[in-house]
């Protein structure tokens, strides 16, 4: 793909960035060099904190200085025959390039669009700023572009607000906004990470197509190797601020040279579950029995607004069983009701109808007081380890709380138990007095898991426990979960949108779509032969490492 005859749009040499704080400084980017040519996609791959975003943002003047200090480097940007060093341009020049010749697409389309302004207003902004277009001209152009990125009814959509769009649509808007000034360089920072797998496939296709049609240079930043595999021409692998390996995409995926690249590739969950963990006991009665469960939301009930729009049926007539020592996967896209189902099972949300029986005991009719002893037996792990830990409680407080509350320990003898829990989930004892924000995402999830297993429960509902984590961390946490399930004889409902992860961990899988269970079966059976059309689409959209 990459013919070196192509002119290089951006050429970065020996870029080093350091972050200085009162506690010392850290080398965020260390002597990084790369280039990207017109019509080419360069993927920068690395885990969070590897410096891949900082590298790109520093070129655009988007990192705060201080604390960031650019120590060295040259970034030659070629546009209309003019060569500029981005790192040495003044703010004015940089600003005139940004949004015009260089455009950026950010990771989370939910937060990156201004919720208070219409799509149209935000779309025309770069045109008005850089091209001196009249409001009407800009509007025309914006509408054309909205259509081009595949949004129907562009004229009406022009006046809509971001919240009226789904995540995928927003990302299309972001792409339109980036392309509206016909840039020569497009930087896409994890553009599909926050999207469902089917949407992700569409967006990747769109990006690829637009790049080809407009012959622009694309820098694609991602942590997800499977995604990169499907779009990149060349790949640069970053770790701890350094590019450890760079090369043609096919070569990197087929014959990774650097051990870190190898480790990354090995961490991508693929293939069936390692056999050793399966100890399901089919003959006895199930641990959890769910019958005709229904959960309905009165929207807008929260807060002082009592007026309620039409109710949403989040979980619709769901029945299934969960056996002892079984890991049951629950897959579905966002909005399918899988999280609500998980919460309804352990009575965090009161179901509207149906029954949930834990070991033969009906849960839905119990009041909080009656539930309390049962809470010890069922626990939950949440998706977002940032939000699910109280920011003002130390690791000790968080882990000790369930022990003390259920009188499994006293104030005097709780410490050894907490330390044992920390051993279980692989946390250093020295961290006992630290607060959640001092940990990385993976460590936080370890804390959350520790909290969940503290009371030695039988059932754990894990709601997307690894989807916020980097791929190597994800692999570690998955292995941790598997080992804990074995060690403590746990049963688990494992909720995820990531089919590879589910395949890797679950014994049996349920597929959920629009509030209903549409398919279930033993994992490998289902993989081999999905019967429902939806399930088939879902499987087809999963990016594969080898797909390139």
């Amino acid at each position: 793909m990459s013919e070196k005859t192509q002119e290089s749009v951006l050429r970065v040499d020996d870029l080093s960035i350091r972050f200085k704080t009162r506690n010392g400084s850290s080398q965020a980017v260390d002597s990084v060099s790369f280039e990207v040519a017109r019509g080419e996609t360069l993927a920068i791959v690395g885990e969070s904190g590897s410096g891949k975003s900082v590298t790109c943002y520093s070129l655009l003047g988007l990192i705060p200085q201080p604390p960031g200090v650019i120590e060295s480097g040259v970034a030659q940007f070629a546009s209309q025959g003019q060569q500029r060093d981005l790192l040495r341009s003044d703010k004015q020049t940089l600003r005139s390039l940004l949004g015009d010749k260089i455009a950026v697409i950010f990771q989370d389309p939910m937060t990156c669009l201004n919720p208070y302004l219409t799509i149209g207003e935000q779309l025309v902004e770069p045109l008005r700023q850089h091209k001196n277009k009249s409001r009407e001209q800009a509007r025309q152009r914006a509408i054309e572009l909205i259509e081009e990125v595949g949004i129907n009814n562009a004229k009406m959509r022009f006046a809509s607000y971001p919240h009226e769009f789904s995540g995928g649509m927003r990302q299309r808007v972001m792409i339109a906004m980036a392309l509206i000034t016909e840039p020569e360089l497009l930087i896409a920072d994890e553009p599909t990470t926050a999207l469902d797998v089917t949407i992700q496939a569409q967006i990747l296709d769109l990006l690829d197509e637009l790049k080809k049609r407009r012959n622009i240079a694309l820098i694609f930043i991602s942590h997800d190797l499977s995604v990169v595999a499907s779009i990149a021409d060349r790949v640069a692998v970053m770790r701890a601020g350094e590019i450890v390996e760079t090369g043609e995409a096919q070569q990197i995926f087929k014959q990774p040279q650097h051990p870190y690249t190898q480790q990354l590739l090995a961490s991508v969950p693929s293939g069936p579950k390692p056999a050793q963990s399966s100890q399901v006991d089919p003959q006895t009665q199930p641990l959890l029995k769910v019958e005709h469960l229904q959960t309905v939301f009165e929207q807008g009930k929260a807060g002082l607004f009592a007026a309620s729009p039409a109710p949403t049926i989040a979980v619709n007539d769901v029945s299934f069983e969960l056996r002892h020592h079984e890991i049951l996967g629950l897959v579905g896209e966002s909005g399918s009701g899988k999280s609500t189902l998980g919460r309804s099972l352990i009575q965090l949300i009161k179901p509207t109808a149906g029954s949930v029986q834990l070991d033969g005991q009906e849960l839905t009719q119990l009041n909080p007081k009656q539930l309390k002893p049962l809470r010890q037996r069922m626990q939950m792990i949440f998706q977002d380890p940032y939000a699910s830990l109280n920011p003002r409680m130390t690791v000790f407080d968080t882990l000790a709380e369930p022990l003390l509350y259920h009188r499994l320990a006293t104030r005097k003898n709780v410490t050894p138990q907490v330390l044992a829990l920390m051993d279980d989930v692989g946390l250093a004892h020295a961290d006992i007095r630290k607060y959640p924000h001092e940990f990385s995402g993976g460590q936080r999830q370890r804390i959350a898991i520790g909290r969940a297993i503290a009371t030695k429960p039988e059932l754990i509902v894990a709601d997307e426990p690894v989807s916020a984590l980097d791929v190597t961390i994800q692999a570690q946490i998955l292995d941790l979960i598997l080992s804990l399930v074995n060690k403590h004889n746990l049963s688990m409902l494992f909720i995820s949108h990531d089919l590879s992860v589910v395949r890797y961990i679950a014994d049996r899988v349920l597929v959920m779509h629009q509030g209903k269970l549409i398919e279930s079966g033993d994992t490998e059976t289902l993989w081999a032969n999905p019967s429902e059309a939806y399930t088939q689409t879902l499987f087809a959209a999963v990016p594969q490492l080898g797909s390139h």
Binding site: S48, G49, I63, D397, Y405, H429
Partner: protein, 312 residues
């Protein structure tokens, strides 16, 4: 800029659990609420906040020691002298009855600081509990509780004060109650708003899934996380309360002359600010100093109590 993770991830390096010698672990024995102890450590690093704290503590100590360090009595008049500007005998001058202003400011600090802290504490206690319960319960309980706040807001304050005065007579503790009873309303609203948004957070859900009861959740998870805005509002409330005290004292509820408070000294000083400006300036400075000290202390405390704020 959350995605700009500035630190290199320690993740790679800590893939294996660190097994630390168990004997060392006893160093992490838990004693009391670590949030407050950690906050204290963080506060010590904030110079402005520390300065504010030092000023406040000094003021409190001086207020306590006032009877032993003043040369004049606070009620001691010198009608022949009358109002006199600062001099060697009277460092801050004297008021129209010839009373030493420094002495009166010092005695006044006893009243003002006591009113400021106790009345605000009353407001804080009621407001935080009320607001948290309303915000946590939500729905009808919340609506009913907030309507009650509306009602109390709307009742005529003056009538309330006059009645209090008549029913209970003059009483300094009544003053604390009266002021606290008024000030808690806004506090309750602020806290309720905070709790409403906190309630949606996953860590509260996690607490529910552990089986914690409402009270434990409110106490352990909600209230500590509302502290930021509460502290800021509190630091703004204290000087307000001190001024409210002077108004109520003027009406006859609260302290009686010849006792003084900063608020009263200021309101008397206003009357003669052209003739005897020192009578306004010095009490005014005392109040301003308190306000700024409290403000810096409050901001520092807010940051100290928020582990995330300590970015450095």
């Amino acid at each position: 800029m959350s995605s700009l993770d500035q630190n290199n991830s320690p993740e790679i390096n800590s893939t294996k659990p660190n097994h630390i010698n168990p004997s060392k672990s006893s160093a992490f024995e838990e004693k009391g609420s670590s949030l407050w102890r950690d906050a204290w450590h963080r506060l010590q690093k904030n110079k402005m906040a520390l300065l504010g704290l030092v000023v406040m503590v000094t003021m409190c100590i001086v207020a306590l020691l006032t009877p032993w360090i003043t040369v004049y009595g606070y009620e001691e008049q010198n009608l022949v002298l009358g109002a006199s500007p600062p001099s060697a005998a009277h460092w801050l001058g004297t008021d129209t009855l010839g009373r030493d202003l420094l002495t009166r400011i010092l005695y006044g600090s006893r009243i003002s600081l006591a009113v400021g802290f106790i009345a605000t504490a009353v407001a804080l206690l009621i407001g935080v509990i009320y607001g948290t319960v309303a915000g946590y319960m939500g729905g009808r309980v919340d609506a009913a509780m907030m309507r009650l706040v509306d009602i109390l807001y709307a009742l005529p304050f003056m009538i309330f004060i006059i009645l209090l005065m008549v029913i209970f007579g003059r009483n300094i503790f009544l003053l604390f109650l009266a002021i606290g009873a008024v000030e808690w309303l806004t506090m309750a609203r602020i806290v309720r708003g905070q709790v409403q948004s906190l309630r949606q957070q996953e860590f509260v859900e996690a607490a529910v899934s552990i089986g914690l009861g409402p009270w434990a959740i409110i106490r352990r998870h909600l209230i500590p996380n509302t502290l930021g805005p509460v502290i800021v509002y509190t630091t703004l409330t204290i000087p307000n309360v001190m001024l409210l005290e002077s108004f109520l004292s003027f009406l006859g509820l609260g302290i009686q002359p010849p006792q003084s408070s900063w608020g009263l000294l200021i309101s008397y000083g206003v009357e003669t600010m052209e003739e005897y400006p020192w009578l306004l300036i010095f009490p005014g400075l005392a109040l301003s100093l308190t306000l700024f000290a409290l403000n810096f202390l409050g901001d520092g405390l807010r940051d100290a109590l928020d582990p995330r704020a300590a970015k450095d």
